[in-house]
């Protein structure tokens, strides 16, 4: 069955034979990529070699390879990207504040990574499937997951909080790198089904060291799976800088597995959108996996329990603040007259309203019923769980007799 259905996916298979397989030898799919790889190999590993469409000053710069992917973008869509980033940042700030107030047990902030997440998230289609790690609040936003659903696990009322299939947005994964394999397997399934959707897996620069991520590269290359690996290199894995994970720029890893890797300015929402669209299109066309390294910066702490002052100074953050993804698009929108004062004011009001909604949702979020402990342990039921549930119930009831626990 699987053989027939993959044969049915003719366009992808045909293209795969060309790009995927031959590309597998050299890790390049054409001269363009070879040029990129060669250029960056010559550079020092720490030096970014970025695809950029918007400079930090908000100037639109041309790029022969990727301009086409955002060529038709309308002012309204640009404002939409801006709105997404602003609201995501607001949501994130609200969650951080709620953690400080004791309403959340923990929060992993995405501050600084809005462009990488919104750009890549907006590049996906509803029928694509997204496998996030635990910081992809902006991608969740793009997928239509209600942001308040993301807070349950951080408040400690559940270990997930949404149905992955309602938005094709998988549950957050805390074990580093695990989901890269799930994404690959899912993509293998998509290919077998002959569907033309794509899969995207998110992970960090630290995660790139995990065996699971290496294995997902192997599997996706060997099976020419329609998956995009979107690595947000935010420069740090808790206290460890990227240099503690790799001696070559991360995107170059892909070459060794036989598929292209590209480094994009992760603070440039347009470039992230364009490059991810390109990579997803490759996947759809049967050209196999791509590694996108979004070169960005985690402006805040790793999580609210982290103390970055122990391992990094302020200068670095200040340098990255100058490259703020939101500021950059703001400048461009203003300079190009694509947005006026009214738009920004309206967005500010919307942002306030979102903050309020999130605060209220968290404060009124009910604690789970204690019997939830025993729910969904198995799909089919299990005698031991039934027995323990009954014991638990009897135990709880013994307190009720004494007038409550």
């Amino acid at each position: 069955m699987t053989v027939e259905s993959s044969a049915a996916r003719k366009p992808r298979r045909t293209a795969a034979g060309k790009a995927g397989t031959t590309g597998g030898k050299t890790g390049t799919t054409g001269t363009k990529r070879t040029t990129r790889t060669t250029r960056s190999t010559a550079k020092k590993s720490t030096e970014p070699d970025l695809v950029q469409l918007l400079t930090p000053e908000g100037e639109r710069v041309g790029n022969a390879e990727y301009d086409a992917y955002v060529a038709g973008i309308t002012p309204e869509e640009l404002r939409g990207l801006y709105r997404d980033m602003v609201l995501t940042r607001r949501f994130d700030a609200e969650a951080t504040a709620l953690q400080r107030q004791g309403e959340l047990g923990l929060w992993a902030s995405l501050l600084g990574q809005e462009a990488a997440q919104i750009g890549s998230g907006r590049a996906t289609r509803p029928d694509d499937y997204v496998f996030p790690t635990y910081r992809e609040h902006g991608v969740a936003w793009c997928r239509g997951v209600d942001p308040t659903n993301l807070l349950g696990m951080f408040r400690g009322v559940n270990n997930g909080g949404w149905d992955p299939n309602s938005n094709n947005f998988h549950l957050y994964t805390i074990v580093i790198g695990s989901q890269a394999l799930h994404a690959t397997g899912y993509a293998m399934g998509v290919a077998k089904d002959g569907a033309d959707s794509a899969v995207i897996a998110y992970f960090g620069d630290g995660a790139s060291s995990q065996g699971d991520v290496a294995e997902s590269f192997t599997f996706s290359a060997v099976y020419n799976a329609p998956v995009v690996f979107f690595c947000q290199n935010n420069q740090w894995a808790i206290s460890e800088p990227t240099e503690k994970q790799t001696r070559v720029p991360l995107y170059q890893r892909a070459q060794g597995y036989g598929f292209p890797g590209v480094r994009v300015d992760g603070n440039d929402v347009l470039a992230c959108l364009a490059v991810t669209k390109w990579a997803l299109e490759r996947a759809r066309n049967g050209e196999g996996p791509t590694l996108v390294e979004a070169y960005t910066y985690r402006m805040g702490a790793h999580t609210t329990s982290d103390d970055p002052t122990r391992y990094r100074g302020d200068e670095e953050r200040l340098a990255w603040e100058a490259k703020d993804p939101i500021l950059r698009l703001h400048r461009y929108l203003e300079a190009s007259n694509h947005a006026d004062e009214g738009f920004f004011a309206e967005l500010e009001a919307e942002s306030e309203a979102l903050g309020k909604r999130v605060r209220e949702a968290v404060r009124t979020m009910p604690d789970p019923d204690r019997f939830a402990l025993f729910e969904n342990v198995y799909a089919d039921g299990h005698a031991l769980v039934d027995e323990e549930r009954a014991q638990f119930a009897a135990y709880q009831a013994s307190f009720a007799d004494e007038g409550g626990h």
């Binding site: 270990n159 995990q210 789970p368 402990l373 342990v377």
Partner: protein, 325 residues
């Protein structure tokens, strides 16, 4: 000179002593350097011993344990940190198929003095995979020694002994006790690594526990004393090997045994203890050995962990049931 210190600090001091005493001792793990580990257990060690001795590793647990095995083969004594209990599983293959078995496979020629430190257990309100108690999964594997201190002094001395051991030792640190203080005397003569200790004498029933549950059992015994019941509390200290002689001696005296651990009861260490003690003490027992622990369910979200974890009432309940036989 004895000093009062928190368990995390005691482990830190113990690691420092080991690094000082033996140039072959290495510390490895994620964030163990500048950050001093997420619990600050390795705080300051890299500053004093350098990056060659206190090594920040890439984010790869299989890599951490696998390379520690190689370093041990080369004569080093690595002490590796797994950041949280739930993250040991990428390394589980290396631990189970390699670390545990190489000594036997080499007909005793190869020794692997590797210590794997794992902060474990719940009660700190953490997210998924940060609160689990996987000790039975390791104790089940021959070739591994599994220990868990319950207080700062033991944490200090058991670490010294674990590092000196020529066998791999899985060293479970009860993270919710990291900040509890106790006297630590670096000149003391410590008890052997795998010996249990009576922490409170009693005559009516034995409570056996290790790691985070020892303190709870002491509280239970204190509460029971108010009701005129005299419970003996055993700190097992080591899960593999287990000091069955100590449990037997206590049960022969009290005739009743309740085992308490955080890990799920089903196929847990309590099951092993119950089975063996039933064999050894069949004619002494006045009641079946009872177990208190986690349910056969995934570790729940933080807001439900109080329901999941053994607490004073649940242990007292088991005590009452045992005494009712």
């Amino acid at each position: 000179m004895a000093e009062k210190m928190a368990m995390a600090k005691a482990i830190n001091e113990s690691l420092r002593r080991a690094l000082d005493a033996d140039p072959k001792v290495l510390i490895m793990g994620e964030d163990v350097g500048k950050l001093g580990g997420v619990f600050r257990v390795t705080d300051g060690l890299q500053k004093d011993f350098g990056e060659g001795r206190v090594i920040d590793t890439p984010l790869a647990e299989s890599g951490i344990v696998g390379t520690a095995i190689g370093l041990a083969l080369r004569g080093y004594r690595p002490v590796v940190e797994i950041q949280f209990d739930g993250f040991v599983f990428p390394a589980y293959d290396q631990i189970v198929t390699q670390l545990a078995k190489m000594h036997a496979r080499s007909l005793g020629k190869v020794k692997l003095p590797v210590v794997v430190r794992i902060p474990y257990g719940g009660g700190i309100g953490a997210v998924e995979h940060h609160s689990e108690s996987p000790e039975a999964l390791f104790a089940h594997v021959a070739g591994l020694k599994v220990v868990s201190p319950s207080n700062a002094s033991d944490a200090y001395w058991m670490m010294q002994q674990a590092i000196q051991s020529d066998d791999p030792v899985i060293y479970f640190e009860p993270k919710r006790r990291y900040w509890d203080k106790a006297e630590v005397d670096p000149e003391a003569i410590p008890a052997p690594l795998h010996k249990a200790r009576v922490v409170r004498e009693g005559t009516d029933l034995t409570l056996a526990a290790y790691g985070p549950m020892v303190k709870l059992c002491q509280e239970v015994a204190a509460a029971a004393a108010d009701e005129g019941k005299h419970l003996e509390v055993l700190d097992l200290r080591s899960v593999s090997p287990l000091d069955f002689d100590a449990i037997q001696a206590s049960v022969e005296k009290t005739r009743r045994l309740v085992v308490v651990h955080e890990a799920p009861v089903f196929f847990g260490s309590g099951a092993e203890i119950a089975a063996r003690i039933t064999e050894r003490c069949f004619y002494h027992l006045e009641a079946p050995v009872l177990r208190v622990g986690g349910y056969h369910a995934p570790y729940p979200p933080a807001r439900l962990e109080e329901e999941y974890l053994p607490d004073l009432d649940r242990v007292l309940d088991a005590v009452d049931r045992s005494l009712a036989y």
